[in-house]
Symmetry: D2
Subunit: 474 residues, 4 copies
């Protein structure tokens, strides 16, 4: 009988700080040893491969209830299968409250959707849309203690947005409890105003979605969120930053010593507003998300922001709305103005290959930065580290084995989500995850998902220690 | 016979990205295993302790020849013993050329000073003071191939300074060869002008040293060095940044996407210009270094720059000039004007405890940031990673075991350098390295240096990969 | 019979661009000639004096109806007499709407208050608190055509504040009509939140007024107002800027090419938050205004902002609340928490002497800058130029003759307002207006107000040309 | 006999602060009256015209001795005739020292070139290329007392450049004497380095001139000059700013409260680096000047810098090198590499029409800003105000009467300089000066130069008052 249940041999391991050659000994689903010449009951040969921490996708929407809009194409089964196929072993979807709902009930309902379906592990962020007394005084503090230690708030969307006072209450509670607040920063009133102008002028096509929310709208809300956080001296994280102007606000805040964290997404690295203006006009709807993709100059700055550490997290903001299906963007939106088209693009599976290819393979970021952005940093920011997000003794054996030379052209038919398109169709990637382990189980083998439904577990999150500046390698 | 020569058991290991509990198995001087329940011929109990990568002091002056000024009190024996006692297992002193000298000869001479004396490992930076054809065309490229892959240049000091054209030639060579250039950035002409004015006005005391080189002098040269690097698209590293204004230039450059790296030192975190104005007037000379310590507001910004990643390296700039000895600051400088007093303060042993105490124990930076600043980042920037600067399979077993609760009041009599004072006398630190290993050998035991003279080895440096932005966890 | 009704002889005339010696010939209340050796029926000897355009105080509160708070001590008689005594010949008070009121009715009511009382000329800004359909669709466009071409909006104060959408509607209307919007920029929700915290903690004294609205609150709203203006590409003017942070937002906006204008007030040049903490605790209430005075460092930056043209206007924000009277701050506020104390300080008479003394006499700004800030720029920004705000052929003969050497210690008993205190008590000024003319009439002679009640006329304002960048000497 | 020698009737007068309708009475060459219904011996009807202060071209090269390069095509006769035809009534050419020359002698020699030839007035800037003891200790202080109160220094050009120490000595002398220093800010070593690389690579055509001095070269030197001025607390003026990056340095400095002034030129508003790459390759040489024209984005920022007051002066930097003539760019440069082609473009006549047309007529700047940039500001900065640069009682009657509707297409054959080309060939201007007076004499009538040779007078300059921030309408 060997010492380990499974051994990954001969690979090149990378963490957020180091790259080295070693074998990994896995026992009871955890990393039990890093060393040389380890032996195990089961051996995976990783010679010539990169052995990386499985990705954490810290911003995904999965099977959210229809009440907020239309049905999502991915449930926890298809969503987590797609995640795993893309090298991601932990997802953090949103348990989304709508006004009038009990937050505790929302969480319980959401658990039911995940139970028995997920193939990799998951934690929940909360979305707080109703900061009423019951939520703020009882439910939320209790949920934080129960391991739901992060929540997103919206500064836009009619049915979700909080006003400044509500943001302050949320931030203040986060400060008291040590929870982390994620902020969707766009100015609601500007968007509404511009949307009305465009519709009145008959400008209803998908491309006007980008026109209706120019970068200044994002910059304003980003500055405001940061100012409110500065006012209360509390850390926050700005999600899905799309533009140089918003990014600059984060950089300025950090330079002043504020603890402001930033996330961006592949859509701001690989898409532009021009994608919303495709020949067949409605095709552009495939690329509608908020904030919208910008132009090439902004793309370039966002890449810089990854390299120079303005951003801490690269997430997908996976929003699984189909294009053609019964609840698809086309059915819902084709005869409707742009503001009725469901917002968001799918990307849970393509997130890591796109960043690896455009970032590491093309020399824009180091392998360490890749690991930090996609796994270690989100684990730290959301209280999952060191259980998740790294390869270290005692950590869960969530591991993605990458072939850094493998060339794959993204095409929707090869993806595992349940959405009928990908906005990245046709992009060729250099580097792809070939074998993926979750708590020591092989969940992807030779690019095939082999995980059993329901094996994924819910993760209680610790409170991050946002009071401590620097947060490790951030 | 056990598998490992030595095992460190029960400690909490920290790297630049992670903290975890594990045993370390050491074999042949290298880290051979990280795991649980490891056994070895020799076991060090690290229960309740932090097990960190040994520090790399990437900016020290040891036994430089007298020709550039006065004799240094530390040779490689006392210098490396002091380093080891302070948790540092690699030092990077300067092989310093003066004008007219062969660089190759300088390196050979310097090797003789280190051979047989050093107790921990060392690599050499070069100082280029004469960028003549022989140096630039032959010696320097050959030395880079031989493992001397970094060099410092001075924008000030009459006998060392290079003009812009010479800086460009150096930067250009660094670009071609992949070497790293360190820049001492102060405007020579401003300092000379102001010094003349002060001396003409009879203002000769130590405190006028700080007056003669105000922050704008550092800011100007920093901006100039960065601009020259931008002009050539080459990474550089600004050493010993002392002021918020210079630091801001680095931050601006990064925000623009430039690969500019920054170093600061404990003297800018713990001393101020007021220290140069002590009652017994000449006592102030103990605190003279260049750039000079600034004020409290600048100190605070420098601390912020560590936390927010504007700085990549914390080095000591150890300059072992005695105060009372035959070559001391007092003998040389007491009857002379401030500009004749030897520049620099000792600090090779106190560097890590000061940063640990003021940074980690007081909550200003994370433990990961401490490791990154003091070990991992310099290893990466100067081509020693992953051999040095981390705890990973295959790395040299250079390890410092810290007692994070141990309280030590710094007093010169307890230090191991050969200098007769420390500028940090009386500061109480929380956290101190108690056991230190170099390539698996115990060199410090219970705070006693037990290393044998001459066991330290010279390290050839790889070329860093400065063309790749982000450089890992930086 | 001489050519001119009145001649001012021998003085040194200054405009916003020039200083020169000349006689001024006045006919029919207008400047008819500038020349040498002019003769007139009445001659004023200005030898050794400065002859400046009469000041325009573009931000004053006079006799606003009690419904918004408590009674104001100054009506148009005392307010304009005080203005004249301080060298100001045009005031621009606010016709203030409260929610539910007809704007047209507000204007008519306000006219009645001015009619027959004012001793110098006046124009009205509007305050829009209710941007309803009647106001936006009919009343306001009509009023703009009728010569009420500027309006102030509030981002704070419960009964006045507009939300972002309302700001956008106002800005949009300003863009269509060419009117100018003035913005009181403080974040209402932050102030309310902090006020509640302070009151709950029993911190009710006047000094907590400053604590309840720190600079970040002003910075946030300033950035937001600028962003909304950028979104719509329309010029706006930020009033009573008190802090370096808010000022910096204006400077950044201008650097980007936006047409953002700025106003500051003497209280931010001569008072600090320490004034709110006087020994006899409630005395501090005398200095309560919003935004509150900051610290010395902010004062210094505000002075710089005058010199470097970040600010275009220096106004008084005269708020004539008495201290001891029946409607005074003391009666209303002494037993109440700080947030119930009437906001604002008097200053219509001291504005020009304070700026002249601290600015021109002490060498911080030029005489031209003084004229620009206090007369020419507001005339241009609010559509009164060249009728008001300069000394040029055809302009109204609104002229203040200053003795630049005259030393006057400010003391409330010598002021002409109806308020029972001045926050500037005891400040010695160098330079004071000795003779003041309004449309050629001597309204102040040897510092005595000699004007007849009711001679002041209402001024219809032209639309400024905010679409044209640079606006003259701004 | 009428009161005035000459009267300009019915025009619209503009100063840097005001626009108004008035007649101008001229007596003894000075403005004696502004008024209505003035009568004079000679009457000029300006109905429908703009009556502006004659322009001051504060940066022109006229008939500089050949020793510095090649012969200039314009002497004081053609140069001032061309100036006058373009609405300029004062020029400020450079008396240029070369190393080893007596500055006093240089001035005397230069006077001889002007005497008897100039048709409008002129003052001299000095160029200091040799800051030796005689110059600094004796000649320059004496010349400043004699009315030569401004000097330019070069940070580039082998035969003219000063090092930092020399700049400090010059700035220090300016501080002591109240003189104004103009700085040509480009980094000499960068240009030399890049030029060598280009020539070694065989890249010798005119277009490589722009490649050899990219914006970072200008930014670096601008920051350095500003830092040296900050170090000494002395005002300086950065001439011919071409790029957004350099301009930003000026804006940052002002925001910090430094007294840094800026000048730009029409070539940076109307030309781009693309002009250096014309089809017939050598044609590009016509557009060679230093710094070189940049791209459209930089042009746009330079226009913004005029509107937002980052720039104080718009000068021509007229450099009258012919293209085809015996000393022309072609003869000298066609078979030579780009760095041998004479630097500079002609523009003394087109400066004002280009700015008027592109700025005032197209709505980018106000008429007041036009007057300030082209006349009033340079008069103030160089000690000629209020004698020159405005229309005020007592000022010289230097007046340009503009037809704001007149459309003129620039073509070299219609210009009055002695250069055989204009870089602005074919640009259509809206607005042109039709009548020009110098000290009351008509020097241009109906666009014809009617001035007698030698009538122009030398102007002693006062010291500006650079210690006073704000300098009037700047």
């Amino acid at each position: 009988m060997s010492e380990f249940d499974r051994v990954i041999k001969g690979g090149t391991i990378a963490t957020a700080s180091d790259t080295f050659s070693a074998d990994i000994g896995i026992k009871d689903g955890r990393v039990a040893a890093l060393g040389e010449n380890l032996s195990g009951d089961d051996v995976i040969d990783a010679t010539g491969k990169l052995v990386l921490p499985g990705g954490i996708d810290a911003h995904v929407h999965i099977d959210q209830p229809k009440k907020g809009g239309i049905a999502m194409a991915d449930d926890f089964r298809s969503g987590t299968r797609s995640a795993a196929a893309g090298g991601t072993t932990t997802i953090m979807p949103f348990a989304c409250q709508y006004r009038g709902e009990s937050l505790r009930q929302v969480v319980e309902d959401y658990h039911k959707k995940a139970d028995g379906k997920a193939v990799v592990d998951y934690a929940f962020h909360l979305i707080i849309a109703d900061a009423n007394e019951q939520v703020m005084g009882q439910e939320l503090p209790a949920l934080i203690e129960d391991g739901y230690t992060s929540f997103k708030i919206y500064m836009t969307y009619p049915d979700l947005k909080l006003n400044d006072r509500e943001c302050l209450e949320i931030f203040s509670l986060a400060r008291r409890t040590g929870a982390m607040t994620m902020v969707h920063a766009e100015n609601a009133d500007c968007i509404e105003w511009m949307t009305e102008q465009l519709l009145m002028a008959g400008k209803t096509g998908p491309k006007y979605h980008a026109v209706s929310r120019p970068p200044v709208v994002e910059k304003e809300a980003t500055h405001r969120a940061i100012s409110l956080a500065e006012f209360l001296d509390v850390p926050i994280l700005i999600v899905h930053v799309s533009s140089a102007e918003a990014m600059e606000q984060i950089a300025i805040a950090r330079q002043k010593g504020l603890r402001i964290y930033g996330e961006t997404c592949p859509q701001y690295l690989f898409l532009t507003a021009d994608d919303l203006e495709l020949d067949d006009e409605f095709e552009g709807a495939k690329y509608i998300c908020s904030p919208p993709p910008r132009d090439k100059a902004n793309q370039e700055k966002i890449w810089q922001g990854l390299a120079n550490s303005t951003f801490d997290v690269l997430a997908s903001d996976h929003a699984p709305y189909s294009f053609d299906g019964p609840d698809g963007k086309k059915v819902v939106g084709e005869d409707a103005p742009f503001n009725k088209i469901p917002n968001g693009v799918p990307g849970i599976e393509t997130r890591l290959p796109l960043l690896f290819s455009g970032g590491v393979s093309e020399g824009r970021i180091s392998l360490q930065k890749f690991v930090a952005l996609t796994a270690t940093n989100p684990a730290k920011l959301y209280g999952l580290h060191p259980r998740k997000g790294t390869i270290a003794i005692g950590s869960d054996a969530d591991i993605a084995i990458w072939d850094p030379e493998k060339k794959v052209t993204i095409t929707n038919e090869n993806l595992h989500h349940n959405v009928d398109y990908t906005p990245y169709e046709g992009i060729e990637c250099t580097g792809w995850p070939v074998t993926v382990l979750s708590r020591g189980d092989v969940v992807v083998q030779d690019c095939e998902v082999v995980a059993s439904e329901g094996r994924g577990q819910f993760l209680r999150c610790d409170k991050p220690d946002p009071a401590r500046p620097g947060m490790g390698t951030l």
